[in-house]
Every structure is written in C-alpha cells, then in structure tokens.
C-alpha cells in the first residue's frame, strides 16, 4: 500500500506530470536569470554573490508547492480513506515527504547547472553549491511538509506558510551559503545534520497536525 501511495504522490507532485509542479524549478531558474540583469554582468561580482542567490532562490522555490501539498488531500477526503484502511498518519506523511523531496530536490539540483552558468559559478564553488543543495533540500522539504500540514485547515494557509518557512529555514541557509563563502565542506555536515533531524521529526509533526485538522 505504501508503494502504491508513493507512486500516486510522485505522479501528483513530480514536475511535468503533476499539475503545475514544474513551477518551482522554472521559478528557481528565473531568479538566477534575473540577478545578472539587476547587478550587471561583472563576472567577479556574480561569482562571489551568485551562490547566495541560488540558495535564496531554492528557499523561495520551496514555498511554491506547499499550498497543494497537504490541504488538497484533506479536502478530497483522501487521507480519511487511507486511515480507514488502517494506515497511520505518520506513514502517509513519510511517503508524502519522500515524494515532495524527490519532486523538488533533485530537479532543483539539476536546474542549478543552468543557473550556475548564468551566475558564472564554476569549479569547486559549484561543487559545494550542488552538494549543499543536495543535502539541504531534504530539510527544506521537511519544514515545508510540517508547515503545509499545520496550516492546511486555515483559510490564509498559503500566504502564511511562506512567512513561516523563511525563519525556520535560516539555519540551513546560513550553513549552506556559509560553506560557499569559506569554501569548506565542513559546514555542509551541519546542513546534512539539520536536514536529517528535520526529516526525522517531520512525519510525526505533520501526522499529528492532520489528525488535529480532522478532529476539528
């Protein structure tokens, strides 16, 4: 049943198969494209600041899929039907987390290549950036899932979730972008640790949140 659910969730959220799911990736590249227009084509300046811009773009792109992530399936009665079949909310949310990350983490990492070319990021910096996004996006996905589940029953949920994600994502941003400035990979260990902790907590927090939404 979990495998069936994962396949369904992936089909819902994966870019180009789901409805409007390619938007975060397009948005991400668009921000990277706009930046050189705003600060000018100075290659040195771009290379120095570009990594940070990519991180901010990734963070903002993580907000976009949140609106549909949980609220829609609550309205559909989808989680209710799974519950009747004996599935725990935590299991539903674990699958959702995996599907959510797969549908936005790896595509974002791939989209970093064109973004990096636009921002003149090369060599070791690019390597650290890619690695950082790879280990940082699970954390962003976990924060996103928790927020989406918590705000699912609120009317202004979509607007609120963007506001909530930004402060919570700060540690990932600080260590992820910090690794670029110092050119060291140690900070990436912190990013990975934060991601791991968040991913471990998220299914329980999100599961409790949708249970509470159902009772309400």
């Amino acid at each position: 049943m979990l495998a069936q659910l994962l396949r369904r969730d992936l089909a819902q959220f994966f870019p180009f198969t789901g409805s409007g799911a390619a938007l975060p990736v397009v948005f991400f590249v668009a921000v990277a494209m706009l930046f050189p227009f705003a600060v000018g084509p100075d290659a040195n300046l771009l290379a120095k600041t570009g990594g940070g811009v990519v991180w901010i773009a990734a963070l903002l792109a993580a907000i976009l899929p949140l609106e549909k992530l949980v609220a829609r399936d609550i309205e559909l009665g989808f989680f209710d039907q799974l519950k009747l079949r004996g599935m725990a909310e935590e299991a539903m949310m674990t699958v959702r987390l995996v599907a959510h990350w797969l549908s936005f983490g790896p595509p974002l990492v791939l989209a970093t290549f064109p973004a990096a070319a636009l921002l003149k990021i090369e060599g070791e910096t690019l390597q650290i950036l890619l690695l950082g996004l790879l280990v940082g996006t699970p954390g962003l996905a976990a924060i996103g899932l928790m927020i989406a589940a918590l705000t699912a029953s609120l009317r202004a949920g979509a607007a609120l979730s963007g506001l909530l994600l930004i402060p919570l994502a700060l540690p990932i941003l600080i260590f992820g972008a910090g690794a670029l400035a110092r050119q060291d990979q140690v900070s990436l260990g912190f990013v990975a640790a934060i991601s791991l902790a968040l991913a471990a907590v998220a299914p329980f927090a999100a599961g409790a949140a949708i249970r509470a939404a159902r009772e309400g």
Partner: protein, 202 residues
C-alpha cells in the same frame, strides 16, 4: 474465510461539534446482514455520527465497537480531480486489491466516463464513481453519508440494489440520509430523538 461475522455497535454515544452537543445517549447494535437508516435534518449530526463510527472523530462520550473492515462513502470522493476517472479509480482498486474493476465500472455505468477527468464529472457521476471505489474495497461494514444526494432515479434504484446485495451477503450498512430509502428489513432511527432536550438553555 475464517473472518468473524461483522458487527457494529455503539454504547451511550455522545458527540459534539465545536461547543454544541449534537446528540447523546445513543446506543444501538447491528449484526450481520443489518441495514440501518439514520434520518435527521441538515446539521442534526448525521455526518458527525458517521465520522465517529468510522473512527475519524473522537466521540465526546461513549464507545464504538466494530468488527470487520470499514468502507466510507461521503460527499468527498477521495478521487484525484485532475486524473481521468479510470486512473483515479485504479489507485484505489490497486490499494484495495478487491473486486474486479471492469465489472464494477460496468455495473455503475462508468465506462463511458472512464477517460473524463474527475473534476469535470457532475455531482451524480462523482457519487457513482465513489460507489465504484466503495465496491472495489469489498468492506464488511458500509457507512454511507447521504448516498442518494445528487443521483437520478435510476441511480437511486441502483444504490438500493447494491445495499440489498451487500446486506444479503451478511454484511452491514448504516445509511445516513434525509431521503427515503427502500431496503427490506431495514431499521430506522432519527438522530433528533437523541438531541439534548435542554438546548434552549445552552
């Protein structure tokens, strides 16, 4: 199959919505083959009762006992609105691995709609699709919340027929509906009979 025969009983059940007590001291027991029709006006607590019976809501007081697998049909179909009907149903058929999908689709006259995205279906068509999902599950205890709403006369007849067959096979159905229903051997109670009498004071 060694499965024990299905049963559904509640004892001294009371449910609230928000701060308002909807009903209290509700007790009944349904054994294999029983059909029960719960009547009541809008907002009287039929849906709340169904959700409490399904375990989707914690009752304010009392307990619910159930033996057997549970199928729920309410106003939400649980089908992905963007997918064509066949694929939206295929997910649930695969999860439940129950009855033959083709036969169910034909029975509910859904074949002509198979390639239509679920969001384009009318209310009645969606309801029939939800029934297809329910039949695929082959659950022993059916909880039906307003199963007739939005359906045309022919489909309403089909629903009574499905409920009759379901219960003839020794299974249980509890139906909350304000519309009349025709199933032999059906018991009936009005949820309003269990409404708190001191509502004026509250």
């Amino acid at each position: 199959m060694q499965a024990p025969s299905p049963a559904l009983s509640v004892h001294d059940l009371a449910c609230r919505r928000g701060e308002r007590l909807l009903f209290r001291r509700l007790s009944f027991a349904l054994d294999a083959g029983a059909v029960c029709h719960v009547t009541g006006a809008n907002g009287a607590g039929k849906t709340t009762l169904i959700r409490a019976l399904a375990g989707l809501m914690t009752p304010y007081a009392g307990e619910v006992r159930r033996t057997g697998t549970l199928g729920l049909l309410d106003e939400r179909s649980g089908l992905d609105p963007d997918l064509p009907l066949r694929r939206a149903l295929a997910f649930w058929f695969a999860v439940d691995a129950g009855n033959a999908p083709q036969a169910i689709m034909a029975r509910l006259r859904l074949e002509p709609l198979a390639e239509v995205p679920v969001r384009y279906l009318s209310t009645g068509q969606k309801k029939r699709a939800a029934f297809a999902r329910l039949l695929g599950q082959a659950a022993q205890v059916w909880l039906l919340d307003e199963p007739l709403s939005g359906l045309d006369t022919a489909s309403q007849g089909l629903v009574s027929e499905l409920v009759r067959e379901h219960c003839a096979a020794g299974r249980i159905a509890l139906i909350a509906s304000h519309q009349p229903l025709d199933v032999p051997g059906m018991t009936r109670f009005a949820i309003e009979d269990y409404a708190p009498s001191d509502e004026a004071e509250a």
